[in-house]
């Protein structure tokens, strides 16, 4: 069992040992090992990208009662390869009035920063690109760089639709970064560390901790993180940045060939990154019984991605005003209230005797703590949803009334004209 569980780590260690044997301990060996690790991380990310394009097309097709790709290979499994070949052989065009270097660099930056997310993700115990002590913060920071790339693409193409798409993107991405960060902070607070390995170990109960995933302790944060994560990657129902029925294709309307492919790849990897982050931060990452750890991470990530596909297949696109209202008037205040609540609960109900001695509070069992946290988070969520539902219904009724009045007025005019 241990052999299977440690398979990835052992392979990695074996390769590293072989290279050190070949080149000797030193700089050259370090560089080769780092290069191999970088290629491995990129291979995982782009392999996930290829598999997910196929899965998404099939599953969304099933949701919409279509068949999906079924020509290339059995059940169309070779479709990603066919797509890649098509993108590589297409003509690579540049608009005559484009801002040349800005236009050329934008897709590369999108793809690079999307891949950089995966360097801190722990795939299994001991299998992590680099265990940064600021991992969770790093991911948010890297994610913010893609905004610039999209702005570059939109401006560089010198096209009205591109620029409109880029502006929408910036309003959306900059806004949703705030609730995303605000909902990672509770996780960091309860872990006491920003390292993703520490966060996972806290959830699997390796070095103390509750041994339950954070989604049980903070369902509200998990939900808010997931929704703002979807908005952050610009996927449907938040795909205003490339709304094909409104602004053609948004910021990448002028891109063709492999540059378009890079942008698509960057977007998919961002979505995959959000799914991985969600499973690491809230679902316990590689932790889980029976199955080997890396398989658990893959399963959890795919489960989260399934939710993303499901939302994409079923929900209509939101309007820009709804999107921004939801962010600034709902998610941000709610996240702040949630943060304050968890702060107070964490001070009042203590399970660690040492902390109790130092700060006081009420000493309770860890499982009671989990129940208190989870119940209050859930209660806050239900309360917030109730308030918002009432408010939105009122707004919608008022809107419908205005529409009705207008319709009646129009009918009267029409009748008078006849």
């Amino acid at each position: 069992m241990d052999i299977i569980n440690n398979l990835v780590k052992d392979i990695g260690d074996g390769i590293a040992a072989a290279i050190i044997g070949l080149l000797g301990q030193g700089l050259a060996a370090d560089i080769v090992i780092m290069a191999i690790a970088a290629i491995a991380v990129f291979a995982v990310a782009s392999g996930g990208f290829a598999a997910l394009t196929y899965a998404e097309r099939k599953i969304v097709a099933r949701i919409q009662d279509r068949v999906g790709p079924n020509q290339a290979g059995p059940f169309g499994v070779l479709q990603p390869i066919a797509d890649a070949v098509k993108l590589f052989t297409k003509e690579d065009t540049t608009p005559a009035s484009a801002d040349f270097w800005v236009y050329q660099l934008a897709p590369i930056i999108v793809a690079v920063f999307a891949t950089l997310t995966f360097t801190v993700v722990p795939f299994a115990p001991g299998v992590v690109g680099t265990n940064l002590n600021i991992g969770a913060f790093y991911i948010i920071a890297i994610g913010s760089a893609s905004t610039i790339a999209i702005l570059m693409a939109g401006w560089g193409s010198n096209n009205k639709y591109s620029l409109l798409g880029a502006f929408r993107t910036v309003a959306q991405l900059v806004g949703y970064e705030v609730p995303m960060l605000l909902n990672i902070i509770p996780v960091i607070m309860l872990t006491g560390s920003m390292s993703l390995v520490d966060i996972i170990e806290r959830q699997t109960g390796v070095n103390g901790g509750w041994g339950v995933p954070f989604i049980v302790i903070m369902p509200l944060s998990a939900l808010a993180f997931l929704i703002s994560g979807i908005a952050e990657t610009g996927r449907s129902p938040f795909d205003l940045l490339e709304a094909e029925s409104e602004i053609v294709a948004g910021f990448h309307v002028e891109y063709s060939g492999m540059k378009f492919g890079l942008i698509m790849m960057g977007e998919y990897m961002n979505a995959l990154g959000v799914a991985v982050m969600f499973s690491v931060l809230f679902l316990g990452g590689y932790g889980g019984p029976i199955l080997p750890p890396y398989l658990w991470l893959v399963l959890k990530t795919f489960g989260v991605f399934l939710v993303l596909m499901w939302l994409r297949g079923t929900l209509p696109r939101v309007r820009i005003d709804q999107l921004l209202n939801m962010n600034w008037k709902f998610f941000v205040p709610l996240s702040v209230i949630n943060l304050i609540m968890i702060m107070i609960l964490g001070k009042v109900f203590v399970s660690d005797p040492a902390l109790f001695k130092a700060n006081g509070g009420i000493l309770i069992q860890p499982f009671a703590q989990v129940i208190i946290f989870g119940a209050s988070s859930l209660a806050l969520l239900i309360l917030a949803l109730a308030v918002v539902t009432r408010r939105v219904r009122k707004d919608r009724l008022a809107e419908a009334e205005v529409l009705q009045q207008r319709r009646e007025a129009n009918q009267q005019i029409a009748a008078a004209m006849h």
């Binding site: 700089l27 801002d99 800005v102 940064l132 002590n133 600021i134 913060f137 790093y138 948010i140 920071a141 890297i142 913010s144 760089a145 905004t147 610039i148 702005l151 570059m152 401006w155 910036v170 900059v174 970064e177 006491g192 920003m194």
Partner: protein
């Protein structure tokens, strides 16, 4: 040459080159992009200095927020292209900058780079002591592993930086409210009304001044009075 030195030189070439382009290019959008490249290099310096938190914060604050603000302001003011790269006092500005740089170079560089004035490395009675900070293993202390935790505790500790952190939160809040208020959209009618009010006030002041000093021509006061009424 160690790897760190090579990385340092690459970063300084990128950072300073981009900074030079920021202050010389005509296209303001390009200037903003060069500014981002410069920020990027600075974040690389932070990584070299083992301040990873600040490298990430540099990304989040400067690249993710401030430079986007710059690009937005550029586009909102329609001044992207065709900026005159230098104003009339540019020679003076260049002179001041170069002199300042040479002065700092002389102060910061190591002792064997001897100063053309003064004795040794004494400035106004105080000795410049940081140029020769030793950089050998064992002498240069390591950053403790709990550095980031200590930093966090110091920020919330009221005896250390707690008050300053609260005040800076207040500063950010005031800055945000102020920015929204200053840049709020106003209807042309409001602006015209405000201008008319200001003109009226000015005319009133003139009228008062004319009343106080009768030797000023009466016609002027009458005109001002007229303007006040219309």
């Amino acid at each position: 040459m160690t790897v760190a030195q090579i990385v340092f030189i690459l970063l300084s070439v990128v950072g300073l080159g981009a900074a030079l382009l920021v202050v010389t290019t005509r296209n303001l959008f390009h200037a903003a992009l060069y500014l981002i490249a410069s920020f990027f290099a600075v974040s690389g310096f932070y990584i070299l200095l083992e301040a990873g938190f600040f490298a990430a914060a540099q990304f989040l604050v400067y690249i993710g927020a401030i430079s986007i603000l710059f690009i937005f302001a550029t586009m909102l003011t329609r001044t992207v292209r065709g900026m005159v790269p230098r104003n009339s006092q540019w020679q003076a500005a260049l002179f001041v900058s170069v002199i300042l740089f040479v002065a700092m170079l002389l102060i910061f560089s190591p002792a064997n780079f001897s100063l053309p004035f003064g004795q040794g490395r004494t400035f106004g009675g105080a000795e410049w002591q940081f140029a020769e900070v030793p950089n050998k293993p064992g002498v240069l202390r390591d950053v403790p592993a709990s550095s980031i935790n200590d930093f966090g505790r110091a920020l919330v500790d009221l005896n250390q930086y707690g008050i300053a952190l609260l005040l800076s939160g207040l500063l950010l809040l005031i800055g945000m409210v102020g920015a929204i208020w200053v840049a709020r959209e106003r209807k042309p009618r409001e602006i015209l009304a405000e201008r008319a009010r200001m003109a009226a006030e000015e005319a009133e002041e003139r009228a008062k001044a004319a009343a106080k000093a009768p030797e000023v021509s009466v016609a002027h006061a009458a005109v001002a009075h007229d303007a006040h009424h219309h």
